[in-house]
Amino acid sequence: MLEIRNLQVRVDDKPILRGIDLTVKAGEMHAIMGPNGSGKSTLAQVLAGREAFTVTGGDVRYRGRDLLAMPPEERAREGVFLAFQYPVEIPGVSNVYLLKAALNSIRKHRGLPEVDAMEFLALIREKMKLMEMTDELLFRSVNEGFSGGEKKRNEILQMALLEPALAILDETDSGLDIDALQVVAKGINSLRGAERAMILVTHYQRLLDYVVPDHVHVLSQGRIVKSGGKELALELEARGYGWLEAEAGAAPVETAVR
């Protein structure tokens, strides 16, 4: 489904990703771990189309197409979804407005009829039940005044509604208490399927207790320095990231990029 080859990315002339290779097949769950500043979030945002980053080398094929050539909205319509590490607040745009606009633009792209207001409310309420969210969050401005946990749930709610083929979850576990973590994990697990691939970007192993990955990759200084199965996550939890950086002979860690 997704094939990343030698991807190199800069921000303000500073190299952040220095040759990423990664292949993700339908049905797979990949976890990308790594210390702060290793480039995890940059990778997630570049895949979703954030224009602040400059791709200086390599390519990304998504379902056989050149992903990097598509504008962000086209990627979304083709089934790519990014759950943001820092979901953006949009005062004045209600959550229900955004959700409906997003769903209908994607349905239209897929040749499906747009859903009307009644159908939409029935559908979204069903998904909100799964995420244990109250109706009130539907009619508030997007993410405005949401707690950290509500923001992350809102991201997974959007994913559940939009049913992407490739979901990239950027530090969805950060800032969650244990109850919220379990709700978010339940939402993620409910969306696993043979046709859907997921990439979990995370700093800690904690989420992986609830969402078990097929593959784990460690990113350090813009490169994947180690790949393995789910047991690699446990090893990282026990030993930290230092030994891998030492193994890779890496220089000091660069500043984190949002």
Binding site: P72, F81, G92, Y97
Partner: protein
């Protein structure tokens, strides 16, 4: 240039003065004459005048605007055209003015409480001029254009609320201009005595894509405990020039709410002032300007906290696209002795294009020590992070821009308390935004 335009106005005055309403009242003739002299001394303002630094009125000087003879227009406007400019249910009082003159056949004034006068200023000037003298002669905020208005004023809205009366339904005063190179000087006088309430919508629109000049003045006298809501909706034609002053004087514990929505005209200037002449006054000044192309829109506001315990809240927002220019100058003056004044003033601007410009200047002048005053102004573009967030959800760039623009304007529109007017403005906004129709469907 200025001399020529000045002479033109003066000559025009000589032509039309004998036919102006209230000619039988000597005080009024003297007042007009004085106002004309006052104008003639300075002529039109230039950008050397501090108050006109960013706004050029050269376009007014260049064109031979002339007052239309009374009774020359009016039949040109159809009931259907009026209907399109009304909003919501027809439960409000409608007064239509065509090219500056009251058009009773197009108007619909409903039943009014006893003692209340609502109608044409021209009629009042002809029938009961003495009752208007103290109000028309109040010229403390006179600008050059206000002086010109006093000289030429021919008609406008006159509302008089005797003590304790109120009008439940909004009053919709609709000023329609139809003719090229015409100038109208509407004068509106709202006299709200002790404990009265009313809500007035002053609405300017043009037909036939005409290029004309509107030079309006509205005076609001809100006596003790009166509560007056004033909405100004400016939708002049793209070729029109629009100059307007709204000047209020507030009595003890009175409340004034002013909303100014500026959408049309190639050049628009609003001077909105209120003075707290007694203790415990409240004023809310809200505004929204939304312009593009080569439009120029200027708001100058001034709140005089002359007495203690006054509260003012000012909130203006602007959206500028194309090569448009905006000017916002908001002044709050706290006079000596006006203790426990609570004032807040904010102006936020969204620039949608690189060529759009805004000059914003909130000003506080404080001569009292026990006060709470804040002000702020921002100028920004659409937020990249918000744009990316929307696009990452499948929403295309044009629609994401429209959504965020709508969201920016929406909190000012939400402050409009007349529901049909608020809905009409939402529609106007949708119509101005790319893919606005689609956003509307989502609402």
């Amino acid at each position: 240039m200025t001399t020529e335009s000045r002479d033109r106005f003066v000559a025009d005055f000589a032509r039309v003065a004998p036919a102006l309403p209230g000619a039988a009242a000597p005080w009024l003739t003297r007042l007009r004459r004085r106002a004309l002299d006052c104008f003639a001394q300075t002529g039109l303002p230039t950008q050397r005048d501090e108050d006109w630094k960013y706004t050029s009125v050269a376009a007014i000087a260049k064109r031979p605007f002339a007052v239309l003879p009374a009774g020359s227009a009016g039949s040109l406007v159809t009931a259907r055209e009026i209907e399109a400019l009304r909003f919501g249910s027809n439960a409000h009082h409608l007064l239509v003015f065509v090219d500056g003159r009251y058009a009773p056949a197009l108007s619909a004034v409903g039943e009014l409480p006893g003692g209340v006068t609502l109608g044409s200023l021209a009629e009042a000037l002809d029938l009961t001029p003495a009752s208007l003298e103290p109000f028309l002669a109040d010229d403390r905020h006179h600008t050059v254009f206000a002086a010109l208005n006093t000289a030429f004023m021919a008609d406008g809205l006159y509302l008089h609320l005797p003590p304790g009366t109120s009008i439940a339904e909004p009053v919709h005063a609709l000023f329609i201009s139809t003719a090229n190179d015409a100038v109208a000087h509407p004068r509106n006088v709202i006299v709200a005595e002790e404990g009265t309430q009313a809500c007035i919508v002053e609405h300017y629109a043009g037909l036939n894509d005409a290029g004309y000049l509107t030079n309006a003045v509205t005076q609001i006298f809100a006596a003790g405990n009166a509560a007056i809501a004033h909405y100004k909706l400016q939708q002049e034609t793209p070729r029109a020039l629009h100059i307007a002053g709204i000047h209020a004087a507030q009595g003890r514990a009175s409340r004034l709410e002013s909303h100014s929505v500026a959408l049309g005209a190639v050049l628009a200037r609003n001077d909105i002032t209120t003075a707290f002449d007694a203790e415990g006054c409240e004023a809310t000044l809200n505004g929204l300007y939304l312009v593009g192309g080569r439009q120029h829109v200027d708001h100058h506001t001034r709140i005089d906290h002359a007495q203690p315990n006054g509260t003012s809240r000012e909130y203006y927002k602007g959206i500028l696209d194309g090569a448009s220019r905006g000017v916002f100058n908001g002044k709050v003056i706290v006079h000596p002795g006006a203790q426990r004044t609570d004032a807040h003033l904010a102006n936020h601007n969204l620039l949608l294009s690189k060529a759009a410009e805004i000059d914003t200047k909130p000003q506080l002048e404080i001569d009292a020590d026990d006060v709470k005053c804040t002000h702020g102004a921002t100028v920004g573009q659409l937020d990249d992070a918000q744009m990316f967030y929307l696009r990452s959800r499948g929403i295309d760039e044009a629609m994401a821009r429209s959504l965020l623009t709508f969201a920016f304007a929406h909190d000012v529109i939400e402050r409009i308390r007349i529901a049909p007017l608020r809905m009409r403005l939402e529609q106007v906004l949708f119509a101005k935004l790319p893919q606005g129709e689609r956003i509307r469907e989502l609402a």
